[in-house]
């Protein structure tokens, strides 16, 4: 990897469509060249519902990104999400043949195959099969066990799968722009690459990507993914809740949520009344802060509890670092306190960027998924030379990439 490489990440989100162009330098540093963003239309809860509309959005984001970065974009890393996507763990065991005590790459391939061979519903497709651990004769090894002597090789995989047709919708959308899709990545896995440092993954951390339409989570324990998934509830629901309870129009509800709402449950913050000014000359609407905050808090509390329920039993106990909030809705005031109440762990909330300009993006939780795609691409790139032959690398890619060339 001598030359700098340019990677493009595309996130088709419920609220916005973001395309990030970045240059990965030979030393591994990432420079963002440009970022194209449009507000999405035709996406509900992370899934495409209106195809022509979202295609126009992607096109617009592409043009902006190309303009800003001065790069001809031909292929992208695409993030997908949606409640149909599930992560699960599987273990494969391979007994080494007689007379071959040393573990060789082909044995590792074999055990990988066994571990990924898991019954998923027939209409589902594999998105990722990520190695969690190897074990040789029952002894765990985090790294590649080739060269070790042993009798039995175990591999634990985290497998992410989703409904084929829904994943294909996103891909088709990019293909018709036309853009090649380098890889499809489950959104929280991409976000985690930006949010978490390597040592935090080792220590154990939960990443919550609370977006507009979905709340995606990924749990890292001992440097590997233990659980991942998506709950189809996001910031839009909060706005909608405010709209339904207070009968404010949606645009006002959104504004009130952002400027006045607080999820902390702190009684001090729930004193008094919010006045919503009316530009049209009609009387202002008054709203009890208590109600507003209750609506917001109950929604987020329910969502976080749903995440908590879905995590494996011992998952949270093994989290050494804490809970990382990201995604646009994580900017909600008081959400950190609420998350702390729910999970009982230290909560890291992204600070809002102080500086503007291209470099601000890297800190902005709204863009963590799109930026994470770049990191994901970089990691994939780094892993690639490890394989003995190029054909193997493409074979590995193909296993992630079940949609044909």
């Amino acid at each position: 990897m001598g030359k700098p490489r340019i990677h493009v990440g595309l996130e088709i989100g419920t609220t916005k469509t973001v395309m990030v162009v970045a240059e990965v330098k030979p030393d591994g540093s990432v420079k963002i060249l440009g970022l194209g963003e449009t507000s999405s239309a035709g996406v509900r809860k992370g899934e495409i519902v209106d195809y022509p509309q979202i295609r126009a959005c992607v096109k617009a984001a592409l043009l902006k990104a190309e303009d800003l970065s001065d790069v001809d974009i031909s292929s992208v890393f695409l993030s997908v999400t949606g409640p149909h996507i599930e992560g699960l763990n599987n273990r494969g065991t391979y007994r080494l043949p007689e007379g071959e005590p040393e573990i060789r790459p082909r044995h590792v391939e074999e055990v990988k195959e066994i571990a990924s061979d898991i019954a998923i519903p027939s209409e589902h497709v594999y998105l990722h099969s990520l190695i969690r651990h190897y074990a040789v004769d029952g002894q765990p090894h985090a790294t590649m066990p080739t060269g070790l002597m042993g009798r039995k090789l175990d591999a634990e995989f985290h497998i992410v799968h989703g409904v084929r047709t829904r994943v294909q919708n996103s891909i088709k959308c990019a293909r018709e722009i036309p853009l090649d899709v380098d890889d499809v990545v489950f959104a929280p896995i991409a976000s985690a690459q930006v949010v978490l440092e390597r040592k935090w993954k080792e220590a154990g951390a939960l990443v919550l990507d609370i977006g507009g339409g979905t709340t995606d989570y990924v749990l890292y324990v001992d440097g590997a993914i233990l659980a991942s998934g998506c709950i189809p509830v996001g910031g839009d629901h909060v706005t909608n809740d405010i709209h339904l309870v207070t009968h404010l129009p949606l645009s006002k509800a959104e504004q009130v949520k952002k400027t006045e709402g607080c999820a902390s449950g702190d009684p001090e913050k729930s004193e008094g009344i919010v006045t919503v000014p009316d530009e049209g000359g009609f009387p202002d609407v008054e709203l009890k802060r208590q109600i507003l905050n209750d609506v917001i808090r109950m929604r987020f509390q329910e969502t976080l509890e749903l995440v908590k329920e879905r995590l494996p039993q011992d998952g949270l106990v093994r989290v050494g670092k804490g809970v990382f909030l990201t995604g646009g809705s994580s900017q909600m005031a008081g959400l950190g306190e609420l998350a702390q109440d729910v999970f009982g762990l230290p909560v890291y909330k992204p600070e809002s960027p102080e500086v503007s300009g291209v470099h601000a993006y890297i800190k902005d939780p709204q863009y963590s998924t799109a930026l994470g795609l770049i990191r994901y691409a970089q990691i994939l790139e780094e892993e690639r030379p490890n394989s003995t032959a190029f054909s193997k690398a493409s074979g590995f890619l193909r296993s992630l990439w079940p949609f044909g060339g």
Binding site: K45, I118, A119, I231, V233, D236, H237, D241, H243, L306
Partner: protein, 556 residues
């Protein structure tokens, strides 16, 4: 308790059922049935292979071809299997004598099963039994020869048996997850057969509120040269009605309900514990109506079985002419010989229509207070409760009248019954599906058992006869308010005067218990506005629609 005979319809004592396992696969199915516990039915294993025969848990065993194969198997040769069975013909005949229903479980493709089963089916029919054959066809990988043997045997069986239910072993993979062991796959297939047998016996032997007898079963299977579709599901807990239906529909024998789309007649039997509600039945039938064509005749039956406790079972039986089966299903055919009941039933239904308005009072009583009063109508079961004892002979006569109503519903005279009962009662019955006349019966019954939140309104719409309306009004106004009216009502109707007071008491009791059991009104799934998510599929997680603000949900 005053015992009285009810012999109008066929009553089938438990001992009249015999289940025969033929060949190795049949023995396995039989073992599964025995292990799952099949009360009352006799089990008989027939095999050429002495080794498997002795290991079978069936209490009765017949060795086929004692001299011919000398205790060995038939080596995959149906001719040999057939000869072996002929050798034991007398023995088999003795074993089958005087049985009302005979189930033959057989795995086709091999020697003993393919060769002996048709002969045994023939003997069973000769002895006058209703013969149901459960046959499995070989795996694809077993090769063309075995498949051919299986198909020949199927062709024979389809003309011999009253009902032929086949299961293709190739589809066994659908029963279990891919990673489950092979023994689990086989035992799942055996379990399916065992559950099917149990369901069929439940249909024909259990007394029903709305009874289904052998005649209905035969009507459902009536089309000649047809394959039997069969699905049975059981579920408990919340949503059990939908879940049971879903379970029934996913049966591989129904191909997930899609095969029902073409059928003409469907027999539906719902069996539940004492807390089964009318509302559940409504839901269930509504769910089913999506899977069957509107023109299909639905033979509806239901029964309350305290042994079911909290669970609810749904059994679907239907048949599909072979030519309508898709190519990959057309492995088998079965000819169903439906005897025609039309003549006598038409007569009966007419008479019962006339009788209906007059008998209203007594009918109301027989049906009203005691769910079991009617339960026993067809089968003379032992399920009568204490209140039954007070029934006087006169009433039995009225009950007989009612039986004719039921009997009339057995056949294709549905429209007639419906039309007439509508005009007779002068109320508007919505005709959605043809099971309505029966569900009326059902309605009345379940009203007594556990009035759900809705039965009042439902019954208002659906019930045709005047006498039922008295009951909903009771439901609406509370326990005792209308009791005087009820008394008067009973008094008017001469023959029923005697036992009336007891009825009232029991009414009170039942209503009180129903009140106690009645759940609080639950939040409908799409309760309330959903704002910008309006019109989307409910975003359901753990039974809660996430599109509705938690603030509104939790407050209630």
């Amino acid at each position: 308790m005053i015992p009285y005979e009810r012999t109008r319809q066929q009553t089938i004592p438990n001992s009249a059922v015999k289940i025969i396992g033929v060949g190795g696969a049949g023995a396995n199915m039989l073992d599964r049935i025995a292990l799952d516990g099949m009360e009352g039915a006799e089990l008989l294993a027939c095999n050429t292979d002495v080794r498997t025969l002795t290991s079978s848990v069936a209490p009765e065993k017949i060795q086929l071809g004692r001299n011919l194969t000398r205790g060995l198997g038939s080596g995959g040769d149906p001719a040999l299997g057939n000869q072996a069975a002929q050798e034991a013909e007398l023995e088999i005949r003795d074993a089958l004598r005087d049985r009302k229903i005979i189930f033959i479980c057989v795995g086709l493709g091999g020697g003993t099963g393919s060769g002996a089963a048709p002969l045994i089916a023939q003997l069973a029919r000769d002895e006058g039994a209703f013969t149901v054959v459960f046959a499995t066809t070989p795996f694809n990988f077993e090769g063309a020869r075995r498949r051919e043997q299986a198909e020949n045997a199927l062709a024979e069986l389809s003309t011999l048996a009253n009902a032929l239910i086949t299961f293709d072993n190739t589809r066994m993979g659908e029963l279990v997850l891919a990673k489950q062991g092979v023994h689990e796959a086989f035992s799942a297939a055996d379990r399916m057969v065992s559950e099917s047998i149990r369901a069929v016996t439940r249909i024909v032997m259990r007394p029903g509120l709305v009874n289904i007898g052998l005649d209905d079963l035969m009507a459902a299977l009536s089309s000649p040269k047809s394959r039997c579709l069969f699905g049975s599901g059981i579920a408990h807990g919340e949503n059990r009605a939908q879940q049971a239906l879903k379970n029934a529909l996913v049966s591989p024998l129904l191909d997930r309900g899609s095969l029902l789309n073409d059928t003409d007649t469907v027999l539906v039997h719902v069996c539940g514990g004492e807390d089964m509600t009318l509302y559940e039945l409504e839901l269930l039938m509504r769910g089913l109506s999506k899977h069957v064509p509107e023109t299909a005749q639905i033979l509806f039956g239901t029964s309350v079985d305290p042994a079911m406790a909290e669970s609810l079972s749904v059994t679907l039986v239907s048949s599909l002419p072979e030519d309508r089966l898709r190519a990959d299903f057309s492995k088998s055919a079965s000819a169903k010989k439906a005897e025609t009941f039309n003549d006598k039933d038409t007569g009966k239904s007419e008479s019962s229509e006339e009788a209906l308005p007059e008998n209203v009072g007594s009918l109301a009583e027989t049906t009203d207070p005691v769910s079991n009063g009617e339960v026993g109508v067809d089968n003379g079961s032992s399920a009568e409760s204490g209140q039954d004892s007070s029934f006087v002979e006169q009433e039995v006569e009225h009950e007989e009248d009612k039986i004719t109503v039921e009997a009339s519903e057995d056949e294709a005279q549905f429209e007639v019954v419906e039309e007439e009962s509508r005009s007779a009662a002068g109320s508007n019955v919505r005709i959605r599906v043809k099971e309505l006349p029966k569900s009326e019966e059902q309605d009345r019954e379940s009203l007594k058992i556990v009035p759900d939140e809705e039965p009042a309104s439902i019954s208002g719409e659906d019930l045709a006869s005047a006498f039922v309306e008295a009951v909903p009004s009771l439901e609406e106004t509370g326990q005792s308010l209308d009791l005087e009216d009820e008394d008067a009502f009973f008094a008017e109707t001469g023959p029923a005067g005697g036992p009336a007071p007891i009825k009232v008491e029991s009414l009170e009791e039942i209503q009180a218990s129903a009140k106690a059991k009645r759940p609080q009104g639950e939040l409908a799934l799409d309760g309330g506005p959903k704002g910008k998510f309006e019109g989307e599929d409910p975003n359901l997680i753990e039974g809660e629609d996430l599109d509705i603000p938690p603030f509104l949900r939790k407050k209630k």
